[in-house]
């Protein structure tokens, strides 16, 4: 977009709310999320089960089953264009072509009855006017790019013939085949062994450099965050509670939840020092069926005051690039 100012973010999500109707009532999975991703940036989204990190990502691509899901409120500005109002046909042009996605368990996102080559070629042909033959060549090239050995042979293999790590490489090849500007990676290494996880994270970094794309890395693992991204958004119970550069977040975590999260992890790098007891966060995540009024972390927070339950704290900037949703600041 030539006329746009350079400062416009690639993706800007404003007060997004995605709710799900269930037999028990409305689940407020994503309940007022704000986040932005700049061009070429790696943004981490971290949080525990049920914090809404995956639903946020799926909402961006409109991959939410509707109903029971519904985008209740908010904007998803993709290069200035609101995706919320787009119909399915227009969304299909954006998926893969402009925004790619990979998931935790590649086996469930690959079709078991087609070869991986056919599946990559299908994605390519949806967006580019190529012949079947040319699309297959492109598939081989993509498999080579993600370092799958003997790609000209492996392109004819079925998903079950690949190991977990190799399957994730296939998914990455497929997601990048149309050269998207943003790759959403939803827990891409959670199902993998630690040595394979390291390989996949290296590959994502290499691909990011090569294609100059932005990455939205969703994970529950603070270690993965620290090693893989520049900026972090911490989510809790459907809301963003803190946003910072990765250095700011680990040097000066502001939100009591972020502080608790960092302290509750056993630290292998500090193994030589005296072992201390882990600082667990008491209690459990609140139900999103009927979330508490005010700050959603208040009932588990050591610093909570009666004031905390009055109103939902908004994100406020405390230092450049560092925002937190907590009334003690």
């Amino acid at each position: 977009m030539a006329g746009e100012p350079m400062t416009e973010p690639l993706l800007a999500i404003h007060s997004l709310k995605t709710h799900f109707r269930t037999d028990d009532g409305m689940v407020r999975a994503v309940d007022g999320v704000d986040l932005t991703i700049e061009r070429g940036e790696a943004l981490g989204v971290v949080g525990e089960s049920g914090c809404g990190k995956s639903v946020t990502a799926l909402t961006v691509l409109k991959l939410i089953q509707m109903p029971p899901g519904r985008i209740v409120d908010g904007q998803i500005l993709w290069q200035g264009r609101d995706l919320v109002s787009l119909d399915m046909g227009e969304m299909r042009k954006i998926r893969s072509k402009e925004i790619g996605i990979i998931f935790q368990e590649p086996m469930t996102s690959l079709n078991p009855v087609y070869t991986v080559g056919e599946q990559i070629a299908e994605v390519v042909r949806q967006h580019e006017p190529l012949t079947r033959r040319e699309a297959m060549d492109k598939a081989v090239e993509m498999l080579r790019l993600v370092h799958i050995p003997t790609p000209e042979r492996r392109v004819h293999d079925y998903p079950h013939q690949f190991s977990g790590g190799m399957r994730q490489r296939v998914m990455i090849a497929m997601a990048l085949s149309c050269n998207p500007q943003l790759l959403i990676a939803d827990e891409p290494t959670t199902a993998l062994d630690v040595t394979i996880q390291a390989q996949i994270l290296d590959l994502l970094e290499e691909m990011k450099e090569r294609f100059g794309m932005a990455i939205m890395l969703i994970t529950h693992d603070m270690g993965v965050i620290a090693e893989s991204v520049q900026r972090v958004v911490v989510m809790y119970a459907g809301r963003v509670v803190e946003e910072a550069s990765v250095d700011q977040l680990f040097d000066r975590p502001l939100h009591p939840y972020t502080q608790g999260l960092i302290r509750s992890i056993p630290r292998i790098d500090l193994a030589a020092e005296k072992k201390s007891r882990l600082e667990a966060i008491a209690g459990v995540v609140p139900s999103l069926l009927d979330p508490p009024a005010g700050c959603r972390f208040a009932e588990r927070c050591a610093f909570a005051t009666p004031e905390c339950t009055n109103a939902m704290p908004e994100l406020r900037e405390i230092e450049p690039g560092h925002r937190v949703a907590c009334i003690q600041y």
């Binding site: 525990e48 089960s49 190991s163 790590g165 190799m166 062994d193 630690v194 040595t195 394979i196 996880q197 390291a198 390989q199 994270l201 290296d202 529950h220 693992d221 603070m222 270690g223 993965v224 965050i225 620290a226 090693e227 893989s228 990765v246 250095d247 680990f250 608790g260 999260l261 960092i262 509750s264 992890i265 056993p266 630290r267 292998i268 790098d269 193994a271 030589a272 072992k275 007891r277 882990l278 600082e279 667990a280 966060i281 008491a282 459990v284 995540v285």
Partner: protein, 324 residues
């Protein structure tokens, strides 16, 4: 020196793979390949390794939930592999297990009270209903739950609470050894810390001995006295937790440690990246199982001769031709 509580000698477990129209055993998975270790009273031995390393199979063989193919398992002077009937039942009072998935390991049709009380009934550990009830309440309180949870069903609990129920069930028969098979892997980090702290408290309170099986090296380092690293069915290194993490000797241990992401963005570490993946345990590589991925291998030595686990320092052993 006191006798160890548990001593495992040359434990082997092969699983037959059936195939062909006659369903005969056509090949074997060498899940555990001559594993030996000991465990002293009150200590925690961590067993780490990636998928297919044989760590869970080892844990289950110790309890004889899986029948070992060969080897000896000595528990308090008795060879577990030779016990049967009454003796085996008695042994199961002394050894318990906690599973990874608290969703799958609790019977959804039983109340929490019945789940925890079951073992007490089986082993005749309560004289009457009153005593049974009191003991179950006591166990629930020990793991941080309460008497009001007794009449509820597993689905009414969160993941962390279900793991507490699993721990209470294991504690019911006052065991000496608990095999913890990935007990916190399915839990969120904030809940994981609660359960790890609970396990540490219980160990101190009841003088428990743990065989702690996990793939998460940070968790294992935190909770263990000593750690054994497994690769394709074999122990490649065993040392005190502090020693292993500070001075790893086996190239696999080194690579494994350097692959763990650390929540400290400024930490500069040497990265050792292993090429390829764990080979198929049906046809493990000859010689040292790790030689196909090893950055320092020397052929043909490493591909032909199996390295034995050798002691290099007090309490530190490694199975590598080139190190130690």
């Amino acid at each position: 020196m006191p006798q160890p509580l548990l001593q495992v000698k040359d434990l082997v477990k092969n699983f037959g793979l059936k195939g062909g129209i006659l369903g005969r055993t056509v090949s074997e998975v060498h899940a555990v390949d001559e594993v030996s270790f000991y465990l002293n009273v009150g200590e925690t031995l961590g067993l780490v390794g990636e998928s297919g390393s044989g760590k869970s199979t080892t844990g289950r063989c110790v309890l004889r939930l899986i029948e070992p193919t060969a080897g000896e398992i000595w528990f308090e002077g008795k060879n577990v592999t030779e016990l049967s009937g009454k003796e085996l039942a008695a042994l199961r009072r002394d050894m318990q297990i906690i599973f990874q998935d608290p969703y799958a390991s609790l019977n959804p049709r039983m109340t929490v009270g019945a789940i925890i009380g079951e073992a007490l009934v089986i082993h005749n550990l309560a004289k009457n209903r009153r005593e049974l009830h009191d003991r179950v309440v006591e166990l629930l309180e020990t793991v941080g739950l309460g008497a009001d949870h007794m009449r509820r069903y597993p689905h009414e609990f969160s993941g962390g609470q279900r793991q507490r129920i699993g721990i209470a069930r294991a504690l019911a028969v006052s065991p000496k050894l608990i095999v913890c098979d990935e007990p916190v892997s399915a839990l969120d980090v904030s809940i994981q810390a609660q359960v790890i702290n609970l396990l540490e408290d219980l160990q101190e309170q009841f003088d428990l001995t743990y065989l702690f099986i996990a793939h998460d090296l940070s968790v294992v380092e935190h909770i263990s006295t000593r750690v054994a690293v497994m690769y394709l069915g074999r122990i490649v290194e065993i040392a005190s937790a502090r020693d292993l993490y500070a001075r790893p000797l086996h190239p696999y241990t080194e690579a494994l440690l350097s692959a763990v992401p650390i929540p400290a963005p400024r930490a500069k570490r040497e990265r050792i990246r292993l090429q390829g993946e764990v080979p198929n345990p049906i046809h493990p590589p000859t010689g040292c199982h790790f030689h196909t991925r090893c950055p320092i291998r020397q052929l043909p030595l490493c591909s032909t001769e199996k390295p034995e686990l050798r002691k290099t320092a007090e309490g530190h052993s490694v199975a590598c031709h080139l190190r130690g």
